[in-house]
Symmetry: D2
Subunit: 359 residues, 4 copies
Amino acid sequence: MRIAISTGGGDAPGLNAVIRAAVLSARTRGWDVLGIKRGFSGLLGEDEIVPLTTDSVRGIAGQGGTIIKTTNRGSPFAYPIQQPDGTWKNVDRSDELVENARNLGIEAIISIGGDGSLKIAQQLQEKGVRVVSVPKTIDNDVAGTITTFGFDTAVNTAMEAIDKLHTTAESHDRVMVLEVMGREAGFIALHAGVAGTADVILIPEIEWEIDKVCEKIMARDASGKRFSIVVVAEGSKPKGGHESIIGESLPGQDRRLGGIAERLGYDIQRLTGKETRSMVLGHLQRGGSPTGYDRLLATRFGAAAVQAVADKKWGHMVALQSPHLVTIPIEEVLRETKRVDPKHDVVQTARMIGISFGD
Amino acid sequence: MRIAISTGGGDAPGLNAVIRAAVLSARTRGWDVLGIKRGFSGLLGEDEIVPLTTDSVRGIAGQGGTIIKTTNRGSPFAYPIQQPDGTWKNVDRSDELVENARNLGIEAIISIGGDGSLKIAQQLQEKGVRVVSVPKTIDNDVAGTITTFGFDTAVNTAMEAIDKLHTTAESHDRVMVLEVMGREAGFIALHAGVAGTADVILIPEIEWEIDKVCEKIMARDASGKRFSIVVVAEGSKPKGGHESIIGESLPGQDRRLGGIAERLGYDIQRLTGKETRSMVLGHLQRGGSPTGYDRLLATRFGAAAVQAVADKKWGHMVALQSPHLVTIPIEEVLRETKRVDPKHDVVQTARMIGISFGD
Amino acid sequence: MRIAISTGGGDAPGLNAVIRAAVLSARTRGWDVLGIKRGFSGLLGEDEIVPLTTDSVRGIAGQGGTIIKTTNRGSPFAYPIQQPDGTWKNVDRSDELVENARNLGIEAIISIGGDGSLKIAQQLQEKGVRVVSVPKTIDNDVAGTITTFGFDTAVNTAMEAIDKLHTTAESHDRVMVLEVMGREAGFIALHAGVAGTADVILIPEIEWEIDKVCEKIMARDASGKRFSIVVVAEGSKPKGGHESIIGESLPGQDRRLGGIAERLGYDIQRLTGKETRSMVLGHLQRGGSPTGYDRLLATRFGAAAVQAVADKKWGHMVALQSPHLVTIPIEEVLRETKRVDPKHDVVQTARMIGISFGD
Amino acid sequence: MRIAISTGGGDAPGLNAVIRAAVLSARTRGWDVLGIKRGFSGLLGEDEIVPLTTDSVRGIAGQGGTIIKTTNRGSPFAYPIQQPDGTWKNVDRSDELVENARNLGIEAIISIGGDGSLKIAQQLQEKGVRVVSVPKTIDNDVAGTITTFGFDTAVNTAMEAIDKLHTTAESHDRVMVLEVMGREAGFIALHAGVAGTADVILIPEIEWEIDKVCEKIMARDASGKRFSIVVVAEGSKPKGGHESIIGESLPGQDRRLGGIAERLGYDIQRLTGKETRSMVLGHLQRGGSPTGYDRLLATRFGAAAVQAVADKKWGHMVALQSPHLVTIPIEEVLRETKRVDPKHDVVQTARMIGISFGD
């Protein structure tokens, strides 16, 4: 048996632990393992195919990143190719991929990735390539699994940032706005915000108003708590859209504000008169050594993916449905979207202890 | 409404986050909250009863320990009292407790604790005291809930210790033995061991033999991996009992070995000839700032306990049955014991990637 | 004896450890200690004066921030007062301060702060107020002392950020630009950059060119290291000034770029064609629990300041001149500026191991 | 030019950063670098000699341990050889080492190690081998340098342990005894103890009495602080010797107590009646990723060692005499011993804030 592993999309802490567990359990069964470099680029002749041995994966479980690299660009079904006139065109190169895989003797692919990679996996599956998927998302927005690796590390990174901002906010009586990842799903903001005892949490799933945000801050101020912490997911939307909070250029400057944190911070200071600072946590959330939770889950996923290959669960994704690991058809996963349910107990808990969602 | 909170048994990271969430959500409802110092000692006149306000719980969510203190000694139903002759006798002081609670106007108690506290809660409940319980156990051995707060922090602490021992083991070609908590349940050893990529994991639920442990170490040695990491739960039992691994005094010394780690380390060195060091992680596992996972879960439990009081769920324990919080009757919880299932996928995963359980 | 303590300027990890040590050692001598809230505001009737007891400082050594708060606004010698017409005017309120201090029976002030606070301390000293200063600067830019508390914590925070960006940069073959604090002194960028193995370090003390930065990145790329980490101090200046790197609006957007990291990242991507991301570490560098180094140094400074009061070292600052603590006249401190010496061995070391300063 | 690097004695965080900096700066000069495995074993034919390239040292600056391994056993001048009758005898194998080095074309050796390695370096130097040393000691007991790498990491590890024990001590009103490294020098205990706000610090340089220790604990108890933290260096000596604190077997057991922490804890509980727990931090202090301070210092030392080779500073050790790096003759270093000076300001600071040294 010869299998190949690929990692696609943004990196997440735990990718290497998945790779390690998959390689170790495949080697134990006597299988060969190849690593496809940079998503599927390795199978399109754009990058390498490397053998993965027990030595290749030694000591990597605790390391961030992915030893076989990853990429955000290019589905094999719509691969960007530069044309002679300099423009770019998406070309279907899936036949090429299928043939390369066959020539390399690859009998199954373990594809580790998020929604984009799952779609590719499903399409490859339909073309006869045997694929088993492992869900990967910092944002926790892949359906069918209670959670996936990387999310817990991101939540802890965000929470530690909130902890740090807390002391400086309190010492200076400031409002601190922290933007965390979450383009469509606010799980990081919600979990880190509650764990880090934020005062306001703004997520894509709950439409908010700047006035409600300021009300909360001023109510705290009035009760003697002269600082506040606001956590905002990058995809969070105010009522009336992004432009409703400072659409124009800054007064007296020819510079317009950038992301949600900067705009929000500007408006809070303008409306409350309180000194406000904003920061974007950005890629720090993707980096670093995975937490125990993520290392364990990633290891379980890696071993389970190899088991799924042995069980011929083609077109399935491994998933956590606590306390058990299961496999579910990728097409079922793709039919659903996973978002924060505003009625979920975590949101209710947050409200009960006085956190505002700006609604 | 006036409620009281108590924390009993060994401390666990997250206790303060439970207390904070319970106080904040009770205060939001306009309830009074009292803190009973040191388990139930405060209600027996042996310690204080303190008011808990929003100010009392400010900034404590990220702190280890418990602001109302805890104790391992003394059920009110069998409270140790020193007799005139100097001996100790257990006395039933529960009537006193009930009366003191009544005099203080306490209408319900939120009792945060492990098996011992759950039993007391059940007995108090039977005496007409209204109790809601919150499960607390570092070892993850309370039934009815997938997990509880403190466990994730303990696993991360143990995993980080394994990480640290790894580099020193590898630099010196040594065997390092790490003893972690787990008197009857091996969850910490199992989770931290897999996450930290231990080579051997010894837990109470799987009987092991010293020869199998040494075999694994020597097999690694033969393959060029001249170091090994052994994680052992404190309650882990070798075949033939504790004494089967060095029962006699150390040769040439009049000193006998102490705990499982010291004995095991001694025997590994004796039988494999490899330099071996052992350490006991001990109380480090109970201390420190809780992880994001634990702070969030503890906060949810605290708010859910207040909700359970509002819903008159007397004699119930709040519990996590992912993705939902539920309440279940304490007597059901007490009927079951929770241990590592040797057939669970985490154990299978560990075996698949080459970890030995010494069996 | 009655003394008062104030903390001024931006917060830094270790402030609380200074306060704690000063209070404990003053109380041991039987002295009274007052805390002046928010810089000197407390002595201008704009804020509180609070008693500081051993209980006030219990458990604070490991906490970021300052329990007596701080502020960036307002020297008592030029205090901003809003005029009836709405404009602001700076007013000398130092006589008021002196009188309030006398009325409170304050015999000496321990002033913890950076250059701004040192100037105020010197001026107060000249007005007959007895002052002892403790240097405080995240940037390590106060002369006369080898280092001060807060800097080590900031360096570790920045280094950990670099570590995190490293894995994501490597997985994606990206250039990551990290902006750290350092308006005029590049110590944080230099120390964190070398410790975190950055590839390019840009500091205010060494003028750099964008082309040299891109050369280094492309040389790495050519040798197979397809990612790079650039650490830039916020006050770092390219040859030709800030505007030399993208002064105009972004092509196709009406939005101009903001800080140095964003501009630099944009230019690197434009000139090298490599995917580049930038982030500003910002206030994370001021927050969090101080490192062991900072807690110890802060504790030594706090005790030394009380000793300096006992020794009547009015107008002196405590300082570290390894391995000894000394006191030096504030006016001497103010005569010098402390910057990275481009010939210092740390810079030479960095060059020797292949780090580029863009020059 | 061809140089070789060896690491000897116990491992310390930062060894890899020294190796990396030495290799990178040597390669920049066009030199060849060899790694001698396990101290000098590689040069005695007992282990390998490996080439060290820029690729060998990629990504290792932040890793604990040493990629060329280390050992505590065997000076080449007194190398333990097993005799035909099974006994061991120390044999001078230095001629063999010199010849092997010559045959490999090694022109200079960078020897990274503590007192033992320094002595070997000095002896080799006298035999005509060109050696430059880099000081390595967790305990900070090498003379001639203000500090060396590894110590700061060990202090932080110990301080974090104290932090964790603090919360559990306070929650349970317990005395916690923590044993840290320091056989003859108490720097780790002193620095971590002050930074972690221990109540009692016991070091080899200050003789103490168990009664004074208990007095301090009871004085705290009387003032309402019902818990205490005791930090004890492993080599710390009570007046009357180790046996003065529980020399006999435990009452009712045939087991004698082991190390200083266990004995001390037993006696504190016996004499004060307070529940006491002890733990030995052990090898955790040697492991883990080095702090920023240690990574920077190790990097400076590595580059400086190569510079010293270029400058033909044979028989010299690189050293930190803040703010400068210098080189000093190894024989000077060996003439001195470095211990905590009981009159140093850190000890005085500790006393001023109420810490007891048990004297």
